[in-house]
Symmetry: D2
Subunit: 361 residues, 4 copies
């Protein structure tokens, strides 16, 4: 904002600007005078600036994962190594529990249904809320409803969502016989239960195409949730353990399985919605391979408090969780708005190619 | 998560849930299996939860403003009161400077061009950056570019945007003769300059259909910016005052004009992007009429620090800035993503009706 | 801001204010003219407003936990129930990994050392970083250091902290023999390992009074970390499992143990720093007793994205995780500033009484 | 977290760490075993990490301003230039309105009373709330009180503060005669009113040592608030203008005065609490001198939305608002907690030297 020839006080001379590269994008938003074309509108985000540009970059980053995924993978003559992934890019999808409670669940279910992702990591709530929604609906409420009144009405609040206590009763009725059966199999067949095996089994039992984990079961997508006891599932396991004790859930076998998915991948991409365990767990697995090749984070966390949740992707590069030559993207936004739009411009946009690929496997 | 009949420890009985109203929306996200229909995707946001639902509610709230606006306004027989607005709903649009630097500018320009809003409030940067963009482009950079290196290159950073010093030099060349002219008119014609009058004049001078304020000038939409000296315009006015002193910018006449816009409106709606002055100034004007009838806030501020920027709409109800029976909406999001989508589903969606209405005025 | 008798436009009459209660605190900050008295300064926070007041309320809430804790617990004649806590208030402390990396660790260690808390919940990093700090220091860096350069230098970044790779090598050297021993004990003695048992053992092995978990071991404070494999410990366990396979870590026994701590407590208090797993896990355990009696959350999360991390305590009341008649407090702040000050005004302030109580056990 | 000699999968070798500089601070928090020494506790923040370290750095930065301020300023032989500041460091203090509503006001008043700062910038509310507090108290409420109920009770909410309507009535009674007098002086004496002159006058009229602006008046500290009409003052001016029209408030003279304060300073320091206008206005004035020498920002804004409020100090370096060789500090925190502590460790800590200096002027 300064000034070349000014009198009297010429305290400063303006630094002459360097010439910016020819191909540097100019900022330009969508012009509604050209009519309402949603596709073009979303494409204009790349040159809109701020988080709109970050969204545009996230679309590009996920589409890079998809292109890599679609690359023909050379048949290893000696396919003796059964670990090696058949996909050109192993995509790790992580999300916090609340997103399954929200309508983002339907986007996630779509990805699992069409085997568009390879590994899922979520928290206990991210598992159980999917099954509960097969049993009874979640409702739209308001962030400011009073806890005491809701408690007296038997209604639980998750942000602006409402879940009646009855839903958890239905879940209990559904789950308890399965827990009995799991204990029986452990005792009689020596089944070694881990969180991922339990989720696989529950996905089979729910037998409902609305369920994310039904499709993960069908498509053999492993789902990791090491703290699976931290939620309603844990409550049930706790009470059940008094009636029918003995169930073991081992987390060592799961960490081997998760890390192997990263280690034996041709290349990897991480798509992580929210922070906490799910973000750290996927990134840590990718450390085992010296870093993911592609990464998109969507969350509202900030780095200033030193949390892993809020850390920028660049922090993960220092650890070797993301490769030094990668171009990771963080979108600072609530995933409920951004993730469905991101799926639209990436996986759904490429649905024909991705689904064909799957079928021709 | 609790349990009806459990042994041994039955410490708690689950409160039975009340029956929720039949018409309470169930949470359900978009199903990409039905194909990629962006319009339907955005409509699904209302039942997606969290900020996606807030976006859906914001769409409804702005559409209420539009319907009210399109209502036939009864001709007052004695149309002696020239103050009274001819529109069924006077829409106040406010935004911070950075949004004009970003591609959100094109959405705002569309609204001004088609006279879809009635009053604009912004900060000094929100004025000057619009004119500067008529003279030279703004570029897409990165949040992590180093300030010292940019300074040495003559490049200024705004988030992930870059503005070369040269742009400000061009602005200076354009503005200085206009300031001379303004001082002359003040001295010879007794023009009483206020920020809104100066902006009107600059909009006329820029004479460029890319400019928001060109259209505000053409369509006689008043633009208020009481701290108009807080930016490059102020720098110029400061230096110019040594060469050619005497310019006055009076803020008293503008507060009369702004408040009158609220007071004499049939009904009012507020659409405010970002916080600080623009949020407070519009809300304070609406206090003069015992509160706005409709309100949408889009920003990333939080209430915990007691800032007006982060305050929820409910705080404004306590002050009488929003009516007690209104249903104001706050979307916690970066406006660069949300505002173009919001315009798409409201003003652009109703473009035919709104533009016809304007023409038939 | 409106006006009783004004002409011409009297659109509004000001609602007369109700008389506020006599004992309602008036806002008044610290007067430095009375000299610099830090204790009085911190006490003035209660009437300073915004988060300063929340801090003051958090001090009151923790001091209520302490008073309850110090109440004489009636001897049960039939003390057959070994589960029942001997303390008047069982305090659950949770914190995210980064706080152990920071100097907040010393505050936490103080609480463990003097048995001022009863149950600890943290993430894998919250365990391992404590041990690593016994082996080599963590340094103060800067949030903006470049990930690529740090990676090339073998330095890992955690916010503005730096941890050299060497520290992890030292950790490996220390841990591997212990893992061998754990596998041996499992095979030969049938030890049933859980995360909390492993942490207890590591606390014994580190044998260093700088360590939080050394004191947790000494004072028999259980430490829960169900996803203990999610970090460097998991990396080690993963690699170790190829050399010396077979280790099991069961999370079912730990959920029984954690929940029992809540269920059998006379009353409970929750002090939770940060979000994610640690916040949910403690609150979920307290659901098993129909809610905690006291609660303080310190974090920077926001509720708008529907995350459990950002949820206000009032959401937990709807779930029965906090009692309906409790007065829980959330402080929106980075715990690195707030928690040492909170410990100062609560536990450290009452150190004489608390430490005496412990000794007379 | 990787591993030197591991079999079978040795995918990665750990980069050896560089040796960090000897004087790099090690992370170490306060040890309460040494007793409760608040001063030492606050000093330990520098090595505590995250925002505690940022606080420690802010203390250092403000103390640098103070040392510079206390340096003997060489007498200019020809002291003809009355503009030149007599202080070694001209300190600009900015804060948003809510901080005057809170108890932070008493810290600010202390700084004004003892002439520890040289220039103040705030918003309209930051002016009027100080005077209103001289007439009637503000109370501590709660963030979740319902707007509709408060409105019906005549109570206004500011975060967790409450201000009765009556307070504004008292303010009206006090202000209206002063406005009459100002119009009279303008008409009879040709007084050219600007926001800073009006604030000076109001500071004189309030004649109350609790008032920040009383002391600003007494100590001749200019207070800038270019959008002075944006609040209750503007409401009053608006209504008053119908009874007694003609008052002018010119913002051009004030921008000259503010910029001159920066331009003619020996060196400058900026202390800015909150964002919006106050942050931009001070930084823009310092652009006129090619950047401030010292800077501390305290706010909760984030850079991701491209707002000036949330911008890191490094963005201001690109603009030349802060010098390239400066070491500016941002503390991400609510100022209600941080600012009183910051004043304690800087201005109050140096009170004897600072107040002596003032007296010997």
């Amino acid at each position: 904002m300064l000034f070349r020839v000014i009198y009297p006080p010429l305290y400063t001379t303006l630094m002459e600007s360097i010439t910016l590269p020819e191909d540097m994008p100019q900022i330009k938003g969508y012009d509604f005078n050209q009519g309402l074309d949603h596709k073009a509108l979303l494409q204009s985000f790349l040159t809109t600036g701020f988080q709109a540009s970050s969204f545009g970059q996230a679309v590009q980053e996920v589409n890079k994962m998809i292109e890599k995924r679609l690359e023909p993978v050379q048949e290893e003559h000696e396919s003796c190594d059964s670990h090696t992934s058949a996909s050109g890019c192993t995509i790790f999808l992580g999300y916090t529990s609340n997103l399954i409670s929200s309508g983002v669940r339907e986007s996630i279910r779509y990805l699992a249904q069409h085997r568009m992702v390879d590994v899922i990591v979520t928290t206990a709530g991210g598992i159980e809320e999917d099954f509960i929604k097969c049993l009874a609906p979640t409702y739209l409420g308001d962030f400011s409803l009073k806890g005491k009144e809701l408690r007296q009405q038997g209604i639980n609040r998750i942000g602006n969502l409402l879940v009646p206590n009855d839903n958890y009763c239905k879940f209990e009725d559904w789950l308890m016989p399965i827990l009995d059966q799991m204990v029986l199999e452990q005792k009689t067949e020596g089944t070694h239960w881990t969180p991922s095996k339990m989720i696989h089994r529950l996905g089979k039992e729910i037998n409902n195409p609305d369920s994310v984990y039904y499709w993960a079961y069908k498509n053999d997508i492993p789902v990791f949730s090491p703290a699976l006891t931290d939620g309603s599932l844990g409550d049930m396991i706790y009470f059940h353990s008094y009636k029918n004790p003995g169930l073991l859930l081992d987390i060592v076998e799961d960490i081997r399985r998760l890390n192997s998915k990263a280690v034996f991948a041709k290349s990897t991409g991480m798509i992580i919605l929210g922070g906490g365990l799910v973000k750290h767990h996927i990134a840590n697995a990718n450390l085992m391979r010296n870093g993911a090749d592609f990464a998109v984070f969507v969350n509202t966390g900030q780095e200033f408090d030193g949390s892993d949740s809020g850390a920028r992707p660049d922090e993960a590069i220092s650890w070797g969780k993301i490769r030094m030559d990668a171009s990771p993207v963080k979108v600072y936004a609530d995933a409920s708005i951004v993730f469905p739009l991101l799926v639209a411009e990436t996986f759904a946009h490429n649905a024909n190619r991705l689904i064909k690929e799957k079928k021709s496997d």
